[in-house]
């Protein structure tokens, strides 16, 4: 079966909060169908606002975020084909891992047997089977995030929106979670937007990096590295990281040299 994945298109999106705070100014870029675009930028530059508008949790003051189907027509937006993962895992503390992962299906009205079967499938794929009966409080922070990531997959979404899923964990766990995000992206094949603070994470995962500053786009950069060259210690990888780092520093007005 060939899936018809949508392109996620930001069309001069602006957002002014009450009090005249310009969170976003005319942001335009497009995430190609099945692509993974990382959005990086200094704290407060509007990344989360952008993602929330894409998720439909916030409205744009002007401009719009559209899902465009492969035939160029509009692509129907539904909670089943769009998944969001936030910085905090947002698990229900009284439900075990399986029931938490199954929750999106439950809210979509899928029968209990089917949703448990599908939840246990994504849990097994994430290597969390041994923890499936545990409550969130009995998991480490990194494991909770992996459960949240597994939960985004359970509905087989076409669009994935990830808001700094690794920001609350240490560097080592972050690398493990990066592998997990990569796997999630590959398994789902979804058009993915990943917000991150980490340049190396962006370079390691993304095929396109959007550098933002103060609500506008500073640079849109294709990552030319082939997948097999994404070795965190290879010269090509480190060079790419340095280049993006410079772009970010320039955007933030920090002198590097």
């Amino acid at each position: 079966m060939i899936r018809k994945l949508p392109t996620l298109d930001f069309q001069s999106v602006s957002r002014i909060f009450s009090g005249g705070v310009y969170a976003l100014k005319e942001v335009s870029f497009s995430i190609p169908a099945g692509g993974l675009t990382a959005v990086i930028g200094p704290s407060g530059c509007g990344k989360t606002t952008l993602l929330r508008i894409a998720a439909g949790l916030e409205r744009a003051t002007t401009g719009s975020v559209k899902l465009i189907g492969p035939d160029g027509g509009a692509y129907e937006r539904a909670s089943e084909n769009l998944s969001v993962c936030f910085q905090d895992a947002r698990l229900l503390p009284w439900r075990n891992v399986t029931d938490n992962v199954a929750l999106p299906l439950e809210l979509a009205g899928v029968s209990r047997n089917e949703r448990i079967a599908r939840a246990n499938q994504v849990i097994a794929a994430a290597g969390l089977s041994s923890a499936q009966a545990r409550l969130p409080a009995q998991l480490s922070g990194g494991m909770r995030m992996r459960v949240a990531l597994a939960r985004t997959l359970v509905t087989s979404p076409d669009v994935l929106l990830l808001d700094e899923p690794c920001s609350a964990v240490d560097e080592f766990t972050r690398m493990q979670l990066d592998e997990e995000i990569f796997r999630v992206w590959q398994v789902s094949g979804a058009t993915t937007m990943l917000i991150t603070h980490s340049v190396s994470e962006a370079v390691w995962l993304a095929d396109q990096i959007v550098v933002m500053n103060m609500g506008s786009i500073h640079e849109i950069r294709k990552v030319a590295l082939p997948r097999n060259a994404r070795n965190r210690t290879s010269a090509a990888f480190l060079l790419e990281v340095e280049t993006v780092m410079r772009s970010l520093a320039c955007a933030a007005g920090v002198v590097v040299e």
Partner: protein, 267 residues
């Protein structure tokens, strides 16, 4: 092993304290020679309890019934109305402050009014228990439901859950720890309410409730019987409180208290 030791220590301390107080009381009564009409000794009260056990146990059953039924009605009303107030912004703004203020009105004072409406008898005692027990439940329910994690609410919103689904699967379970706290307070108050209701509702006969036993004993100058009935009403209150606490523990401990503990340990 540690846990057994700990629970023995937890039970032992109050038992020792109560025994000490009773012994001191007994000695004080014997030494001072105060008349049994004013303060009977614990041993005398114990004898009365034994001698009038039929009357006291029958009364305790009546009072337990009135307070339990009143408590259950209060719990249902408190949780349902509280959830409604928490869910509807207009009600929240208009009724929530009112609920807090009403909690401070000495509601037992409405007991005579209940007699006018419901007549003499068990219904008045039940209603009195309900009236005093409902507000803690109401306030706790509202508190619990307005402070549900906004991130979780957003998750439900994102998945297109209806208000009803969100209440069943998020708001209600998330506020259970708060509601249980309210219910525990309500359990103690329900017994107070029932006894005050019985004071004014005057239903007697062979199955007179503890409130009536106390009033009758007072008129007959049977201070020992008054004390005995008070002791039994304390037992009723403690039993209801204990039952609610156990139920709350069953509902919550799995994820709430224990969850907090293991979180603390993982840090």
């Amino acid at each position: 092993m540690m846990r057994v030791m700990k629970s023995i220590r937890m039970i032992a301390a109050p038992v020792i304290a109560v025994t000490f107080i009773l012994v001191a009381w007994q000695i004080a009564v014997m030494m001072s020679g105060v008349s049994a009409f004013l303060v009977p000794s614990p041993l005398a009260i114990g004898q009365t309890m034994w001698a009038s056990s039929d009357r006291l146990i029958g009364g305790a059953i009546q009072t337990a019934m009135a307070s339990t039924i009143g408590f259950v009605i209060a719990a249902v009303i408190g949780i349902l109305v509280g959830s409604m107030i928490a869910a509807v912004p207009f009600l929240r703004r208009s009724l929530y402050p009112l609920a807090t203020i009403l909690q401070m009105v000495p509601l037992v004072a409405v007991a005579p009014l209940l007699v006018i409406w419901l007549g003499f008898g068990l219904p008045t005692a039940i209603a009195a228990a309900t009236v005093v027990a409902v507000f803690p439940v109401l306030a706790a329910t509202i508190d619990g439901q307005v402070s549900v994690d906004p991130g979780l609410r957003e998750f439900f919103l994102l998945h297109g859950a209806s208000a009803w689904t969100r209440w069943r699967k998020l708001d209600l379970p998330a506020s259970i720890p708060a509601i249980v706290t309210g219910l525990r307070i309500a359990a103690g108050l329900a017994v107070i309410g029932a006894i005050v209701g019985e004071f004014v509702s005057g239903y007697g006969g062979p199955n007179a409730p503890l409130g009536i036993v106390i009033m009758t004993a007072m008129r007959e100058a049977r201070t020992d019987l008054v004390f005995a009935a008070i002791a039994l009403s304390a037992v009723v209150g403690f039993a209801l409180f204990g039952a609610v606490s156990c139920l709350g523990w069953l509902l919550v401990s799995r994820w709430h208290a224990s969850g907090v503990n293991s979180l603390e340990q993982s840090k």
